[in-house]
Symmetry: D2
């Protein structure tokens, strides 16, 4: 009996030691690259996690690179995701695939967007990694679908929704969620300043908004 | 008395002779170029006019050229419109200004679209010509705003709506009318085949639909 | 006699007063807009003119606006050129017609570039204004034709050369002159810094180089 | 002695059996897709190989898909190349990476072109596969560098030349070879019809021209 009492703290300690944290990687573009900076959505997810006393259960890693399109994720997924052995990967891509069409002539064809997206999923699935998908939130926050890329962004969001359905994966439909939020909070039909600083990149409200969705999804796995 | 009776047909004939027809010019792109062909919307306006016994009051002229953007109209308006001394000009432009951005890299900047559009109006107004404006109907007939150019087409339609309001001119809002029609008649969310053959150019239903709007507007002046 | 002597200076003064200066308008884009600033090519032409004691014969006016393409010149030529009754107009346009294809999707089709260019010339000719044409010098100064827009810039320069020949107008072939200069002075195949600051806009050497060509052409009329 | 004579054909047969053919895969876009059709460059390489009595030494496989860009090759290289265990892979890509910028807004950024190209090479090298690289021959055959994409095509060809040098790999510089041929055989500066049907895809002369280069390179390994 005495022995057991003495051992108890050690056993509990071992329990904590052996409890592997869930490693969550956020895989995306500049929006995700900014997510690990002060006030960024990944930092906020981490804070919420701690506040709920779950910091022993989760570890959050940002893997966002500015200017990335879907095929860039595919190219670097070995080095930036797979070697880190994540439990969960949240894919958040698509803005540049659409945007760079008009700004550089180097966007991504819709059929190839789908192909590369599915190829990323296949490789993650092969390693039994849990996956969630995000639709690209916005290029401009106007609510009457008169932002230049709205049609194309809706088209690519539809592709992602379809991929999520086909692969039976959770979808964080930021495109829809942002629009709903703007319909309530952007009565002046402004193109920025509600959830973003420039129509694309998240302001404080936007980072918290995305963080809320991400954290809810992570806990839901 | 006898004399008068004899003169009557002559007087009536003179009346017809002196009654100037209202010359209506439809000024636009390939959609309008096709309008003067069999089954085209201008041919249909002409038929409706005749059926209503008003062929002595109106004369319809097509001035559409394939691939035209707003600045092409401005360049050729002297030769193709002003020299013909029209009473009414209906401007129907905007599809290529948006579309050619992604297909050739030669679309029209939004601010310049507005400038050239206003410049056309100014020159028509200076000649006391009556004017009506059309918004560009569609590049793709999907109803969920997921046609690639929907955002930009909405943006340019907003510009035209604003020009119509500023200049106090009648607006034929084909963009809105096509969407409303598709919401009722395109439950499968198809990208063509409802009012267009290819998402842009009018099929028989589309030509009649546009003709109805045009004829109503012409009579309204 | 006494009277005449007293009047002589006045008569000479009147002679100078009545000698109309040749008004030279430089009509173009941001390169020309910068031409009237300190160190700009128009300021330098003016200085050379003064240094040669010809300031009573010439007056130089800048009519350059940033971002302008050929059709922008056409649109504003009444207000910015014709109302000023110039004797000579030097057209220097084309960079944005090519460049904006990839950066905004709003460049100018080659056939329309030619049409608008010719339309500008026709209106100037109708007023008996002397005209000189410039080819667009550079978008990147590499000498092995590996600047992204080199092919298109050569194509549009060929169009201008052809217009100059057809209309029997003097050509300031800056495209060729810049290349020749770079072949001698840019042995490292740099994309900027020889005659331009950024591959497009003129540095001090470039402004003087263009000024030399312009001044030579103006005196040649 | 008698036995040996009887065995001889068997031994010779075994020798043939055990002589492994060199499998050569041509990896590319529509130009290579057409290479396996009648008169195509791969068919011609095969014919030359047979004519030289070397058909026991080489086997030729086409792996070209229309519209492919460098990242498409990367995505499908496992299925279409690596599983086939080639001895030699000849990479012939780049036209669409440049061309699709202006025709669809979906070309490839220069830095990413280089990254994906190098990634393909790395994976081939890891399997000890011999590699040769081709520069993209032409988008238009004009010889004065006035084909729209000449500048960009030269830029991407420079990237490939640099990759070949860095990786110490044989280069089939079709870009340079086509230009040299055209300088001799295209005195009218036509944009097609010398080595291509449409400025891009090979005519009979072009297919033989490319076949000659390919066959020379294959034998040189």
């Amino acid at each position: 009996m005495k022995k057991l009492i003495l051992l108890l703290p050690i056993i509990i300690g071992m329990a904590f030691t052996f409890q592997k944290k869930n490693k969550v990687i956020f895989f995306g573009d500049s929006i995700t690259e900014a997510g690990v900076k002060a006030g960024g959505y990944i930092v906020r997810v981490d804070s919420m996690c701690k506040a709920e006393g779950k910091s022993n259960s989760y570890e959050f890693v940002g893997a966002g690179i500015s200017g990335n399109k879907v095929y860039d994720l595919y190219l670097r997924m070995e080095d930036d995701v797979l070697v880190k052995n994540p439990d969960i990967v949240i894919i958040y891509i698509g803005v540049n695939d659409v945007w760079h069409k008009s700004s550089f002539g180097t966007g991504t064809d819709a059929d190839k967007f789908e192909k590369f997206y599915q190829a990323i999923i296949n490789r993650l699935k092969a390693k039994n990694i849990k996956i969630a998908l995000c639709t690209p939130a916005a290029i401009g926050e106007k609510t009457d679908f008169s932002n230049q890329q709205d049609g194309d962004l809706n088209k690519y969001s539809n592709i992602i929704r379809s991929i999520a359905a086909k692969n039976n994966l959770p979808l964080i439909d930021l495109r829809k969620l942002f629009l709903d939020y703007n319909l309530k909070n952007n009565s002046e039909n402004k193109d920025r300043g509600i959830l973003t600083t420039d129509g694309v990149h998240l302001n404080a409200t936007g980072n918290q908004f995305v963080a809320d969705q991400m954290w809810k999804t992570v806990k839901g796995f």
